[in-house]
């Protein structure tokens, strides 16, 4: 890492000044340093990772943080993923190993109740064999990879859980990046300088689909689902019911290749099959009809018309893509006309998260950036930086305006962006992982500035998996209906807090919320602002906990 490139400004915390920014940066909260395994050879895999997950591992009601470690820089010392349990606002390691330390070259993970026993398990994606860990309910894990039928040896990237065939359990979709062999590696040069090779130097690989038998045992359906014949260079993946037919489709951001829109055929044919429809749908290519370097991916209803736009972060000289969903399976790339394009062009963007940072009912966009070429500053005589700034795009009702998300802070080489209400105060905080650095906590300052409902959905574990991924949430505010689709994995190498935060209008104290569970069952309840509500399918609200008082900035 080129420290000279960073901006070593220590922000002076003036309370009024801090409050005017949506986030406060906390760079020293998490005791973890990412190791990429970079030993001077510049293997492409070193530049990609790593991510993590925010979830309640030990069931104590607050979010814990699992961080995926890349590869030990010192080849003689083992690398370890870590689980940091939150205790009184601090993230600390347990006294005994969590059991999910993993020995692979880590990229990402997904958290979800794979075995349907009411606690949250972990799937770890590696550059090499992946791992599945089951939680014993106390935040301690057991490696069950082999016995559960997981054999994923490819170079993985992002992952998402979904219920492909709506049978009430979680299946697994794993994005794979490239085929890379150390033995066949030859360095890439630019201006006589060795640089990380671009993905075009390597063949693409297919993504994989693992189907759950209902008891947490998996079979590989990559070939039979049609995915094995689709070669790509996946980095970002997410679920979304793009065609509104009630089953979960998939979107894959490929690096240097056309993106995939994988339409699930379950509802149409009763078969586990996916068809790539991205080209004709208009969400395969970026601005200028180019195969861009897709990294992170996110979906949200940005224009309030009830369906979700798809957002993809891309390399420098490319805009981050915003595919407007026009319904009927038709998307239109709009990054230049909605104001998102120009500010994104100079950056290499990775993590992305849509959230309502100013609680004005309009979803905003946070993006974390960082170059992949560690010596880029030498190559561009300082014109392009390796460490890059975070970006926040405020939704102004159709167009976006870039604003500073926080006080000036040290520039970081951003990668994953994970969201969660870390302090349970009713706003969404962020954690961005950084290449060869410590994760940055971005604590939201918006709590209390508007009424918000917290929602924790849980399927019944029979007809709907407990994570309720794919549930559609509707509620009315100011004569308009706000629609959200529930997902836990998105962004880049990230697994988020599974809870949802629903912003209300200024004087509202409650809202009628409808949940359409995967499978189609609908339930309605009136929820009050200021609390998290645990809503179990078929049982309604089973518990409620008030938001914590916002932390003074």
């Amino acid at each position: 890492m080129i420290l000279a490139s960073c901006t070593p400004q220590t922000p002076q915390k003036n309370t009024s000044e801090v409050a005017s920014y949506p986030f406060v940066v906390e760079d020293d909260l998490i005791n973890f340093t990412h190791e990429s395994g970079a030993r001077g050879l510049r293997h492409i895999g070193e530049s990609v990772g790593s991510g993590g997950a925010l979830f309640d591992a030990d069931g104590d009601g607050d979010l814990d943080l699992y961080l995926v470690q890349g590869t030990a820089t010192d080849e003689n010392s083992p690398k370890k993923n870590i689980l940091l349990y939150q205790n009184d606002g601090e993230f600390i390691q347990g006294e005994k190993p969590c059991g999910a330390e993993d020995s692979g070259d880590g990229m990402s993970c997904a958290a979800g109740d794979i075995d349907n026993d009411g606690d949250i398990d972990l799937y770890v994606v590696n550059d090499g064999p992946d791992s599945l860990y089951l939680n014993d309910g106390t935040g301690h894990f057991t490696d069950v990879t082999q016995e559960r039928g997981i054999e994923m040896p490819l170079f993985g990237s992002s992952i998402c859980f979904l219920d492909v065939e709506l049978d009430g359990d979680l299946d697994i979709f794993v994005g794979h990046y490239i085929e890379f062999s150390i033995d066949a590696f030859t360095p890439c040069l630019r201006e006589k300088l060795e640089v990380y090779c671009a993905p075009k130097n390597y063949p693409g690989v297919p993504c994989s689909l693992l189907i759950n038998d209902g008891k947490g045992f998996f079979s590989d359906a990559s070939a039979s689902s049609g995915l094995a014949s689709l070669l790509g260079k996946a980095l970002g993946v997410l679920t979304s019911d793009v065609d509104g037919d009630g089953d979960q489709d998939l979107y894959v951001a490929n690096d240097g290749e056309a993106n995939f829109l994988l339409l699930n055929q379950w509802k149409e044919t009763g078969e586990i099959k996916f068809i790539d429809d991205a080209y004709i749908a208009g969400c395969a290519l970026g601005e200028g009809a180019k195969e861009e370097a897709g990294m992170g991916v996110e979906a949200a209803d940005l224009d309030g018309d009830g369906d979700e736009e798809i957002l993809v972060t891309n390399f420098e000289a490319q805009t981050n893509s915003c595919y407007r969903n026009d319904g009927g399976g038709m998307f239109l790339e709009t990054s230049f006309v909605n104001g998102m394009g120009p500010p994104s062009i100079p950056n290499v963007a990775f993590g992305i998260r849509v959230l309502d940072v100013n609680l004005d009912l309009l979803p905003d966009i946070f993006i974390t950036n960082g170059h992949v070429i560690d010596n880029i500053e030498k190559l561009t005589t300082g014109q392009t930086l390796f460490a890059q700034q975070d970006q926040l795009y405020i939704n102004e009702g159709g167009t976006f305006k870039e604003v500073s998300p926080h006080l000036p802070a040290e520039l970081k080489v951003g990668r994953a962006l994970i969201s969660g209400d870390i302090d349970n105060d009713g706003d969404l905080d962020l954690i961005s992982t950084t290449w060869q650095g410590s994760p940055r906590v971005l604590r939201s300052t918006s709590a209390g500035s508007a009424p918000v409902i917290g929602l924790h959905l849980s399927g019944d574990g029979v007809s709907c998996h407990r994570d309720a991924i794919g549930a559609i949430i509707n509620y009315a505010v100011q004569e308009k209906t706000i629609t959200r689709e529930h997902r836990v994995q998105s962004s880049y190498l990230a697994s988020h807090d599974p809870r949802l935060l629903l912003t209300l209008g200024p004087k509202m104290t409650e809202a009628v919320v409808t949940v359409k569970w995967p499978g189609g069952t609908e339930e309605t309840a009136t929820l009050t602002a200021g609390s998290y509500h645990k809503w179990v399918m078929g049982k309604g609200i089973v518990s409620q906990s008030q938001f914590e008082k916002p932390t003074p900035n």
């Binding site: 004709i280 009809a289 180019k290 230049f336 120009p342 062009i345 014109q383």
Partner: protein, 354 residues
Amino acid sequence: MGSSFVKILLVVLVGLAPVPQDASSTDPRITELNAAMQKGQFLDVLKKGRAILIKQPTHPHFLLITGAACIELARTLKDSEAKIQAYAEAENLFRRFVIVNPQHNNSKVEQSLARCCLTREDWKNAKKHAAKAIQLSPSSTMAHRVMGESLSGLKIHKEAIQSYKKALAITPRDVRLMQLVQDEYRSLRRYAEALNFLLKQQDNLPANNRETATFYQLLYRAYVSLNDVENAQVAISKAVSLNPKKPTLASEMALNLYRLGRSEDSRLWAKKALTYQTLNNDSKAICLRILGQLLSHEGKYQEGLLALEKSFQINPDDRSTVIAMIAALRRTGQEERAQEFLKKMNEMPTDPRE
């Protein structure tokens, strides 16, 4: 070949060619052809020169003036094959001159030979003639320039930059030379250095507005290469203010405003650019595409499609146009045509990431 080069070449060839004094002063045909050259009657000069050279194939003055006319005519030819042939004829005439006058000391002749070699991409011989041209006239801008072009053809970009910079040291306000330097930096993917180089040239801007506008157009492109669309906008605006009637400036203005999300301004400039009769086809296609895209973004797909189809007719290889057409066709219920265009797009060469 740039028009300035041709003018210089003509002046030198006509005025300084090593023609025996007695012959040139007494031969009325020379006076006649010189006058015709001055009037731009190149075809006339070529025909008469050829006729004379049939009878006097080694006459130095007629070899030079006919060769010069040939180059000037070649410049105007649109058919690439004919152009190559014209340069080949010019080269033949200059070579004959060198054979007849092996001890000649006319740098311009070597420059012309280098130019002819450049047109047929014979970089090695072009470099040889350029070197001789420099040896005969080290302070000749054009000699250094053709050396730069030869080196560029040989892909020795760093040395090409040095040659162009030598030429610029002699003629510091030559915007075409600045462009050539910028092109070399781009070949080396040294976009930041290209920008820094141009920024340093701001003290040497040409006196006339048209040339200065071209400089700012170069600056605009340098900023675009570095993804700095804001400063690119400042540069292109300056270029437009200096040369408001240059069609490509209007189209680049439209494109950058589109990038900036300034849809209404972009639309106005695209429309303005399209009013120019002399707007080149590439720019015309871009402007029509922008208009089509803007209409599509507003949901006016039928109108948008009309503009996009016109753009496609001019440039059927533009993937952006085709993808915008697919979107508009689907939204106007023309699924079958959308599929046809999708097939077309998939057959087009891709523009891979660098």
